[in-house]
């Protein structure tokens, strides 16, 4: 079980990811809807793992990832991306993301990725 911060600009995706994680026995400690909130909540809540959408307003997931990794190089982050964002996914992995899930995804895929990352 892990304490997880869920970041996505779509309310529906936050709910879907949070529901999946809760059913998988994890605790969702917070939900953020853009990159600025993601960095702020990461500092405040100190989650064991963060799921981060790539395309978001204000500050995108890639920028937020870089700031989070600068704050805590051991941070565990899983990126969520739509099709066609291969270059950003690769950049995220280089920037320290542990894994990525491509939308649309089944709840089990999120749980597997979390289990692998906190393993």
């Amino acid at each position: 079980m892990a304490r997880v911060l869920v970041v996505d600009d779509a309310m529906f995706m936050r709910k879907m990811v949070s529901d999946a994680l809760t059913k998988g026995g994890h605790e969702v400690v917070g939900e953020a809807q853009n990159g600025i909130e993601a960095v702020k909540f990461f500092q405040e809540l100190k989650p064991e793992l963060t799921t981060l959408d790539i395309t978001m307003p204000e500050k995108d997931g890639l920028e937020a990832l870089k700031e989070i990794m600068a704050l805590d190089p051991s941070a565990k982050v899983i990126m969520c991306s739509a099709l066609g964002q291969e270059s950003k996914v690769l950049e995220s992995i280089k920037a320290g993301a542990k894994d990525f899930v491509v939308k649309p995804f089944q709840p089990d895929r999120v749980i597997d990725a979390v289990a692998k990352a906190v393993g």
Binding site: A10, M11, F12, G84, E86, F100, K103, P104
Partner: protein, 290 residues
């Protein structure tokens, strides 16, 4: 191949990608699609029942165009229900979608637009950048008219999802049409007559002498040995020592690119026994260069 053929090929590839994604979101609820060109003065949403919700994305960079996907409000409600694990036709609601339903539909449409852009990139052979999606609420087919003012080429693809109609409208830049017809030309699929009609129809420029100021501009030139396509999971897991097969034989010509545009093809040669160089075999036809 005529510009209209290129337009329809691009439309079919994009709506197929959208249908595939929808099939993942609501399995068994996606019907066959139809693709049609849109004539000047015709509204691409013609005969689409309203009210509807829509998402618009524009191609970014120096091209004008984009994709718009529209689905009836009832279709949106059913799609959202399917995404939340409910039976799509069992839901009933108000005229307006709830905040959560709208969020689900917008998310689905964002994923569809990414998928459509991805399909467009695959057809064109290079990555097409898109702007962040813009969500629209349409009360009548006239509401989105400003989006297609002055569009050079337009297509309208119809699809039925969860028993409700939806539509993918593509505003295609001239550059894409030229790129596609050129790619087919290289494959030997374009007859001289077709090539002339493409060039004439798209207002191709006659070669012009470069001015001195342009001659001094530095451009990136590179040669491409070949390509491979593989799942992202395999790419990030490639160990040192792995061998990735490319799509060219050892004695095939290499492509020469200038600032991202395929410009010529030629053969790799060794200069002074140690440095690579490319011997140009042929420069591609300037009449089909965007």
């Amino acid at each position: 191949m005529t510009p209209e053929d290129a337009l329809l090929k691009l439309a079919d590839s994009s709506i197929s990608a959208v249908a595939e994604l929808l099939e993942m979101l609501c399995p068994g609820q996606v019907g066959p699609h139809q693709v049609a060109p849109v004539q000047a003065g015709q509204n691409p949403l013609e005969s689409m029942p309203m009210p509807a919700v829509a998402t618009n994305v524009a191609f970014s960079g120096n091209v004008t165009g984009g994709n718009l996907f529209a689905i009836t409000v009832e279709g949106g409600r059913r799609l959202a229900a399917a995404m939340m694990g409910a039976e799509p036709e069992s839901v009933e609601g108000e005229v307006e979608l709830s905040e959560l339903e709208l969020s689900a539909v917008n998310e689905a449409m964002n994923q569809m637009m990414a998928s459509a852009a991805n399909a467009t990139s695959a057809v064109l052979g290079y990555e097409v950048d898109i702007t962040p999606p813009e969500q629209l609420s349409l009360a009548s087919v006239a509401d989105a008219e400003a989006l297609w003012e002055g569009a050079a080429y337009m297509s309208s693809s119809s699809l039925v999802v969860c028993g409700e109609p939806c539509r993918l409208v593509q505003l295609v830049p001239q550059a894409f049409i030229i790129r596609m017809t050129r790619a087919l030309d290289e494959l030997g699929a374009v007859s001289p007559t077709d090539a002339e009609s493409v060039a004439g129809g798209l207002g191709a420029r006659a070669p012009v002498a470069l001015t001195d100021s342009i001659r001094g501009v530095s451009v990136r030139v590179w040669a491409e040995l070949g390509r491979a396509r593989m799942p992202m999971g395999d790419v990030v897991g490639l160990p040192a020592g792995a061998v990735v097969e490319l799509d060219r034989a050892a004695d095939d010509p290499v492509d020469v690119y200038v600032n991202g545009m395929r410009f010529a093809h030629g053969r790799l040669v060794l200069v002074d026994g140690s440095e690579w160089a490319v011997h140009i075999d042929a420069v591609l036809d300037a009449a089909t260069t965007p």
